[in-house]
Subunit: 221 residues, 2 copies
DNA sequence: CATGGGTGTGACCGGTCGGTAACTATACGG
DNA sequence: CCGTATAGTTACCGACCGGTCACACCCATG
């Protein structure tokens, strides 16, 4: 008598059909952006909601209020589109850093706390984690062009955070920077896996504690 | 003149065909375990390598040196199999905790450091991160039975780590526990996204620094 | 030797995938 | 007003997906 001979016909792993997406077509009318831009931003959203492998090009095109042919005229393949959406997200993140710098000029510590606060807010706002990191998890085929985009993005983020920690004048800026990076990345995936009542609920306090401990003259006795 | 009209016919998002997997069939002969167990452990490995959506039931069955019918006689659906592999991994993790307890009886602090060291080793050894967390990232369909398995697992892990921190007698055990959880989760996905030269390279030091700072009477001035 | 449960085989199903072809409709700049 | 470029439409392709069927097989137990 073997175990688990139950629950047939679930189908929940299969992709999302165009019909499931259509109702959201006009949620963000995007006021007649160029088709290409509509496709990119729609793909961003659908990749994030359903996963890269979980949504088809047909559904993306339809949700973007266009069609597959037009999509393929702008992007040679789905992989191309994936890379483009990741680059798009990269640029948004880069803009966030510029904004942060503008908000707290000449005050690195305020910038660092601003960073933590913004990340915590972002964590609370969306339930899908970092698109770039999720893509890295989802796309296992090594050599996939997306990996280069992801790595470039993560490297840039790391550099900026490390530079910020250095500007604050903290002891061991690389260690603090990488600690904060891991806390952030971990908070996002943890929220996906465990829900908002999991470890991620203490993300902000964990970051502040880490920063405080590195601002002390030395944490070792 | 629009951008990126290049690179057609990549296909790298498509699933792995049985033929691609067959050569590895005998890598781990598993010495004629029962078909059911061969399927579970093979599925574990292939899910981890290719992602849950990236491998088909046919390929799993073939790699397990059996066939699709037998697979479906033991597991009513692919989703069933997914859940079973996640439960399998959960049990392995649970066994790891027991082992840890046996290695350092009556010495919570050694146990905590042992945990960090083991996690760091695991991080160095495998390149695929936490299977349960990866599944959470990959399976966006809410209501998927795997989510319950994942949540149960993560909850158990969190409880054990928090109990350990409490036993150590640290200040704010929940905060340290969740900090370590996030560091670990973050290190794994960061390694996937950024590679082994990214933030994850400082995972061990980050953990030790966190523990040290919580062992101080107080980190706040 | 029979019988019956677990296993292997191969064909098959409807559906979706990523991607393409051929043709039409629209917009815009000269 | 025409030519060109872009966008929309429909149908199609081969491949693969998760899942099922009927049937032969093996082998232990009675």
């Amino acid at each position: 008598m073997s175990r688990s001979l139950v629950s047939k016909n679930s189908k929940s792993v299969s992709n999302v059909k165009p019909a499931d997406v259509r109702p959201e077509k006009n949620d963000c009318p995007q006021l007649k952006l160029a088709p290409r831009d509509r496709i990119v931003s729609t793909a961003c959203e659908l990749f994030r909601q359903h996963g890269i492998r979980g949504i088809g090009v047909d559904a993306i095109a339809e949700a973007a209020d266009t069609n597959k042919m037009t999509l393929y005229r702008h992007f040679g393949s789905k992989d191309d589109l994936i890379c483009e959406t990741l680059r798009f997200k990269s640029e948004q993140a880069s803009a966030f850093w510029d904004e942060l710098e503008a908000q707290h000029p000449n005050d690195p510590l305020a910038r660092l706390h601003g960073w933590v606060k913004a990340r915590a807010q972002c964590l609370a706002d969306n339930q899908y984690g970092c698109d770039l990191a999720n893509a890295a998890v989802e796309l296992k085929e090594q050599g996939h062009p997306a990996h280069a985009v992801i790595e470039t993005f993560k490297l840039a983020q790391r550099r900026r955070l490390e530079a910020l920690c250095r500007d604050v004048g903290v002891s061991e800026p690389e260690l603090l920077s990488d600690t904060l990076s891991m806390l952030m990345e971990g908070a996002q995936v943890s929220k996906l896996a465990t829900g908002s009542e999991g470890p991620s609920m203490r993300f902000l306090r964990a970051c502040e504690a880490a920063i405080a401990s590195f601002c002390q003259p030395a944490a070792t006795p």
